[in-house]
């Protein structure tokens, strides 16, 4: 029977924390979070020198991106983050081999040892940094669409023209108006997003603009922030929230491991 290991992340010693380089016992930390899949598999580490892969046993299956699975994956990452610098591995990574003990050796050899330099380099880059997320959406869409109509003469004119005629007019102009408004909405989102980014500028190391959805959501941002700057970042987001009260609703998430900045892809050799 084939045996597999689900791989959550690669971890390394955190600067300023206890030196874990020669302390194998510390690296064998017991996790309180259960492994993914609801089988109560133990989460543990396989180490090579001063880095380790955090894994749990798993059959050779694919994990759907259900909230339950995602939370399970994330919990292990967050628990790892308490003690180590974390490099997230792509969700649903299962390494499979014919023998369970053998697979641990392969992860050690083919991932930790063979990619040691690359992983160490990434660990240095991510050391003492966390990810913070901001999702912003408009509170009152009616107000936003009214603004769009007021701000764009062409839209205002075409809309007036269409409304003055009877309903059974060709769809062409209506479709054009729809497209014009969509474009204006996109531009408006971009403007608001820029204001948010400018306000936070200088307080993060890197940023990602993630996919959003629907008309309401203005932006979905992830920031890589130095641990020493978290409090300042909190303060700025609070201020943003106050300034835009009634107009923009903010969801502030964090701290999480840098899942939107690092996604290690791991393949074992055939």
């Amino acid at each position: 029977m084939e045996k597999g290991k689900y791989i959550y992340c690669i971890v390394g010693a955190n600067k300023g924390k206890k030196d874990l380089l020669n302390n194998k016992y510390e690296f064998r930390k017991k996790y309180t979070s259960p492994g993914i899949g609801g089988r109560n598999d133990e989460v543990y580490s396989v180490f090579y020198r001063d880095i380790a892969a955090i894994i749990s046993s798993s059959p050779d299956i694919s994990y759907s991106i259900s909230r339950k699975n995602l939370i399970c994956h994330q919990k292990v990452l967050e628990e790892s983050m308490e003690d180590y610098t974390v490099l997230p591995v792509r969700f649903d990574t299962v390494a499979v081999s014919k023998n369970e003990v053998y697979i641990e050796e392969r992860i050690k050899e083919e991932v930790l040892k063979d990619r040691y330099e690359e992983l160490k380099d990434l660990l240095v880059k991510m050391d003492n940094k966390v990810e913070l997320g901001i999702k912003a959406s408009w509170v009152d869409m009616k107000m936003i669409f009214q603004e769009i109509v007021e701000e764009n003469k062409d839209i205002k004119r075409l809309r007036k023209k269409l409304f003055s005629k009877s309903i059974d007019k060709p769809y062409g102009e209506k479709a054009i108006l729809g497209e014009m408004v969509m474009y204006a909405l996109k531009k408006k989102k971009f403007k608001e997003e820029k204001k948010i980014l400018d306000f936070l500028n200088g307080n993060y190391v890197d940023k990602r603009i993630n996919k959003g959805f629907g008309d309401k959501m203005i932006t979905n941002l992830s920031f890589l922030v130095e641990k020493s700057k978290i409090e300042e970042f909190d303060r700025l987001v609070d201020k943003l929230s106050t300034v835009y009260k009634g107009r923009i609703k903010f969801k502030y998430m964090g701290s999480t491991p840098p899942i939107n900045f690092i996604e290690l892809v791991i393949f074992l050799k055939e």
């Binding site: 694919s62 759907s64 991106i65 259900s66 909230r67 995602l70 967050e78 999702k135 959406s137 509170v139 869409m141 009616k142 669409f145 009214q146 809309r159 269409l162 309903i167 769809y171 209506k174 479709a175 108006l177 729809g178 408004v181 969509m182 909405l185 996919k211 959003g212 959805f213 629907g214 008309d215 309401k216 959501m217 979905n220 978290i230 409090e231 909190d234 987001v237 609070d238 929230s241 106050t242 835009y244 009260k245 009634g246 923009i248 609703k249 903010f250 969801k251 502030y252 998430m253 964090g254 701290s255 999480t256």
Partner: protein, 103 residues
């Protein structure tokens, strides 16, 4: 430093708007046909076959659903219900592909 994992701000309103007011509802409060156009175009695009095999589309829908839940646009109950349906569709696709592989 204790810091909440999920921080909500004072102006965060939970479940304030059950119905998402869309662009077309406001622009065309009574002109429904434009919605019809979109719908037909969409239908032409999504053939039954595509829908049955396009797992990435459903995964996208799952992620969107999670975002909507995070933004308090849907309740946990609604989320669970929709997630269940999407996961069932994913499972159906997996089985369909497996069957096709064997044939």
């Amino acid at each position: 430093m204790a810091r909440p994992y999920k921080k909500e701000h004072a102006n965060t309103e939970i479940g304030s708007e059950e119905i998402d007011i869309g662009l077309l509802d406001i622009l065309f409060p009574f002109l429904l046909p434009i919605k019809g156009i979109n719908f037909i175009a969409k239908k032409l695009h999504d053939t039954a076959e595509e829908e049955l095999t396009d797992a990435s589309k459903i995964q996208g829908e799952l992620l969107e659903l999670q975002m909507r839940y995070e933004m308090d646009e849907i309740t946990e109950e609604e989320y669970d219900k929709k997630e269940k349906k999407l996961l069932e569709r994913l499972e159906a696709i997996r089985k369909y592909k497996e069957k096709n592989k064997k044939n």
